[in-house]
């Protein structure tokens, strides 16, 4: 079975072809650059770019996979969470395609896509040993940061254990980068600069290091960096800039890793997974690996390209329902919110923990 995946929820336009074992035949991602000068994503520009690139990206995926539309058995498209106008472009493309080619189409929750990205395999990479169910996953991206228990491949088999009460981890990276004048997105730049910085050089707030809660808070450390910039100005020399980045990143990574291990203990699972754009972070990958080993857990990390937004993970996440013969043709609506049940109330403030 071959699934065509489409992704337009945020600022990457993606199309991919994936088979029912998770093998990626083609994975095309076009990242939007139009937002750079605005220091954040401009929804209207995102929608415009998705429309411009959606068709070409789709053609390219089919061509790269060397398949024709006739070979495709079903279509999976991100329908939530994300920017409504952006989601609509992908959903309408998918709808038109499904109607014309008389194929089933299912809507996919983008977060489930991120959580299952770890099952993808790529022809140019060494075969990965996929995680065994159940596992605990840390999803840290530009819009979301939460821990989940994953018991299966469906929405109903994924349970949130705790999430951020304010900013997402990636959002904190992006906002700190903006405060430092590093442009958007901030994660990759900070990651690069932090490598040669001293993580103990700059005193910054610790992001909710409360020992027993599985909730996160990143607005404190973001503000802490902003205050430092107010007091000292933007770093005038390269080493100070590297030190600020390293100090910020160390604290964020520390929290993420601690809570991941804590969640795994609470849920008594043997496997942990990290996912989402922030999972591309080198320090997070290294420290999560070390902490997991120490705790007797197996850590599985998706390849870099599977961490940030892509359509291959959407195709894979749609597979289960398509295989069962389900079809959302008559009920495919977009939503800015995830369909996963949440346990953390956003903005509920700092609690003792």
């Amino acid at each position: 079975m071959l699934v065509l995946g489409l992704e337009t929820s945020c600022d990457e336009t993606g199309a991919a072809i994936v088979d029912d074992t998770g093998r990626v035949l083609a994975d095309v991602v076009q990242s939007q650059v139009v937002h750079t000068e605005f220091g954040g994503i401009v929804p209207e520009l995102a929608s415009r770019d998705h429309l411009k690139n959606g068709g070409p990206v789709l053609h390219q995926a089919l061509a790269l996979a060397n398949v024709s539309l006739a070979d495709i058995d079903g279509i999976a498209v991100t329908c939530r969470p994300g920017l409504s106008g952006a989601l609509l472009v992908g959903v309408q493309l998918a709808r038109g395609l499904a109607w014309a080619s008389e194929k089933p189409v299912v809507g996919v929750d983008h977060l489930v896509g991120h959580l299952l990205a770890v099952f993808l395999s790529y022809p140019d990479l060494a075969p990965a040993d996929p995680p065994k169910l159940p596992f605990v996953a840390l999803l840290a991206s530009g819009g979301h940061t939460a821990l989940y228990r994953v018991d299966g491949f469906e929405l109903s088999a994924v349970r949130e254990l705790g999430a951020t009460r304010d900013d997402a981890a990636g959002e904190a990276f992006d906002k700190v980068a903006k405060a430092l004048g590093l442009g958007y997105p901030g994660g990759p730049v900070i990651d690069r600069l932090a490598k040669e910085g001293n993580p103990d050089a700059i005193p910054l707030a610790r992001p909710m290091s409360g020992k027993h809660t599985l909730e996160f808070s990143f607005s404190g450390i973001k503000t802490s960096v902003a205050r430092w910039v107010e007091a000292h100005g933007r770093p005038g020399d390269d080493q100070t800039l590297r030190d600020v980045c390293a100090s910020f990143q160390r604290r964020v990574v520390d929290t993420l890793v601690k809570k991941l291990v804590l969640a795994a203990r609470q849920e008594r699972v043997e496997t942990v997974v990290i996912a989402g754009g922030v999972a591309a972070n080198r320090e997070l990958r290294e420290r999560a690996h070390a902490a997991a080993t120490k705790a007797g857990l197996r850590l599985v990390v998706p390849p870099f390209r599977a961490c940030t937004d892509n359509a291959a993970m959407i195709a894979f996440a749609g597979l289960t329902r398509l295989r069962r013969g389900e079809d959302d043709s008559d009920a495919l609506s977009v939503s800015p919110k995830t369909a996963l049940a949440t346990v953390t109330r956003k903005g509920s403030g700092r609690r003792a923990g």
Binding site: E37, F38, G39, V42, E44, L45, S47, R48, L51, K52, G54, G55, L58, H59, L69, G85, L88, V89, G90, V91, Q92, L93, A94, R95, G96, L97, A98, W99, A100, S101, K178, L180, G181, L182, G183, V189, L193, R234, P235, D237, D238, L241, R242, S329, S333, V334
Partner: protein, 224 residues
Amino acid sequence: MRLLCIETSSRRGSVVLAEGTRLVARATHSELNAHAERLRALLDQVLAEAGWSKHQLDRLGVGMGPGSFTGLRVGIAFAQGIALGLDRPWIGAGSLEAMAAACPAEVGWPRVALLDARRDEIFAQAFAGAGRPEGIAEALPRASGLASLAERYPGAVFLGEIGPALGAPSVFRSETSDLPDAAGIAVLVAGRDPADSVREPLYVRDSGATPQNLPPSPIVRRAG
């Protein structure tokens, strides 16, 4: 040539089937913000009415605006998906142009198409004999736009349901010229060379975002 045309730039969504410039079936809806949900059912409806199969279609036509940004994209992305699925070309045409093209021959020229653009503005575009556009589609202030158009295009016939409310001197009203309609798109697209297709939506207005002008850091500047 069998055409399927879609128009979603205004509050009314419409779908038509046409044989050349002859209209064969037309279906519309006016449910608020529901183009995405309603389009597919409209398609099935016109095909059933005409007794055509989707595989008999030769080309797709779609209205490219100006109009509601989101509404436009809903129709255009859908048409693109269908075109890809059926392996047929899609051809874009201006939505105001479609209003001018939907009038009966006895309506004189120049014709000036008017459309509510919200935010106290109107979209307008003038067309001379045989539908040749006189300048591009523009957004004008609601209060003064009509006066300036009347001055620029003396003796023009104004089109659009908002014509009377704006105090247009001479207004022609009809179902398919009151708002952009797939019927007008079909007239335009039937004879159009695919190479002359409008490929990008006619947004007319920009996104409204303002650049931040942050000075890049020394390191980033060097790396870039």
